[in-house]
Amino acid sequence: MRDVAVIAYAQTPYVRTERVRNEVEMLMPIIDEVVKKAGIPRQEIGFTCSGSTDYLAGQSFSFVMAVDAVGAWPPIMESHVEMDGAWALYEAWIKIQCGEVDSALIFSFGRSSMGETAETMTLQTDPYTMAPLGPDAISMAALQARCGLDAGLFSERDMAEVAARNRRNALTNPEAQLAGEFDVEALLAAPYRVSPLRDHDCPPVTDGAAAMVIAAADVARDVSDKPVWIRGIDHRLDSHQLGSRDLTKSPSTRLAGERAGVSPGKIDIAELHAPFSHQEIILKNALGLDDDVRINPSGGALAANPIMSAGLARIGEASRQISGGAASRAVAHATSGPCLQQNLVCVLEG
């Protein structure tokens, strides 16, 4: 395997509603920023890969327009996954492993605010037996939370503490959307949104985009003082039918974590893509993280959940922590599908 490093990362400020700029206008400045930071001339970046979904934009081929933001002239080697940008990163990492290219630009984007996000996610479910019943994202997550509560794996207080910690962490992240000091007692006094979930257990609706440049060792050392090395990356899938899974566990996260090499070795921080509070606890268990691992210093998805970018953002945020000197070894995670169906784990080191 070739050593590959994150050499630059940028994201838009995360907002509830990006009403002014369209996707191309959101992407252009951050792609420009990330390419400049990377220090590799745009034409020399070997591969470009993006992640997005047509149903957020409400139109077919919405990713085609995003090419306008890249500067694909002369033509570029480019691909797109209908997945979170974390999987675009995976495809780019594979391309570098093939020896075909030495560097890659990855980006992802979405304006969730244009639709009713929770309902849009209903369309992700089996179209024969599930989608016609209209299970929205919050209700499905609530089914999962109840399983964990019933099994005694966590309490509603534990969930509120997760939410309070994430949003406290977000105070130090100028790009986060929801930040603040929250009193756990007060959170627990609030009514349920969809029981057993309260508002604080759920992610905000977020518009945003993220971009990253990665490079193989030779290039990375040449252009960057502080490359952040991708030591392992793997992703796995669980069954789709909620009723055929043990929702209190995330076997795909556990497996991806093993393959990516989370252990042995001390983990300083973890950026976990847990849109719902209880999911952070399930993920922490699946990855076998100790209590002294700092989870989501960025505030995580409970502070900003730009769908299609939230996973790539976890890897970007973890790489920032390392390049900024706040951590030397980190695990970053991305998820997709109802109740953590698909999971990617990436281990990063300074």
Binding site: E23, V24, E25, V67, W73, Y128
Partner: protein, 165 residues
């Protein structure tokens, strides 16, 4: 149940997703121009080429088109197609002619309907002029141009249209 019924082989599942669409900075500027009967082209900050409509970027430079200029509503047909098949979402009587039109002053062509001459007379290089709906019907839409009509001017030779296919 006494009567034998046919097995179920298909289901119908209605899917409805509602959005509030916003066009973005450059498109909004263009649409506000349309409302006033103006065709505003976006100028690339980097190379100066003029886009109509601009979606916010010059794709060859990946640079914003932050300045605008009003363009003529006359142009030249780059290529065209006569449509004889119905399409969902298109409320024009068949057959009709759509053309890629390079407006004077623009660096990219723009799609419009051609009327006012037999289809056989439509040709690449032909000069055309926008015919606008009555001002009272103007909206935030390039649909304010009802169609393009032939101009009584000599054709532009094909060789001079190179680079604007």
């Amino acid at each position: 149940m006494s009567e034998e019924r046919e097995p179920v082989t298909r289901i119908v599942t209605p899917v409805r997703v509602a959005y509030t669409y916003t066009p973005g900075i450059a498109s909004e500027r263009f649409l506000r121009g349309c409302k006033e009967g103006k065709l505003l082209g976006g100028i690339c900050d980097a190379c100066g080429r003029v886009y109509i409509p601009s979606r916010g970027a010059c794709p060859r430079c990946a640079a914003p088109t932050s300045k605008f200029q009003e363009l003529s509503d006359q142009g030249t047909i780059i290529t065209f197609c006569i449509v004889r098949v119905p399409a969902e979402n298109i409320a024009v009587d068949l057959p009709y002619c759509t053309a890629s039109i390079l407006l004077d002053g623009a660096d990219i062509s723009f799609t419009g309907l051609i009327q006012g001459c037999p289809f056989e007379d439509v040709r690449i290089g032909m000069r055309v002029q926008a015919i606008w709906k009555p001002e009272s019907e103007w909206d935030y839409s390039v649909g304010n141009i009802e169609h393009f009509h032939p101009l009584d001017e000599p054709d532009i030779p094909f060789k001079d249209l190179k680079g604007y296919s």
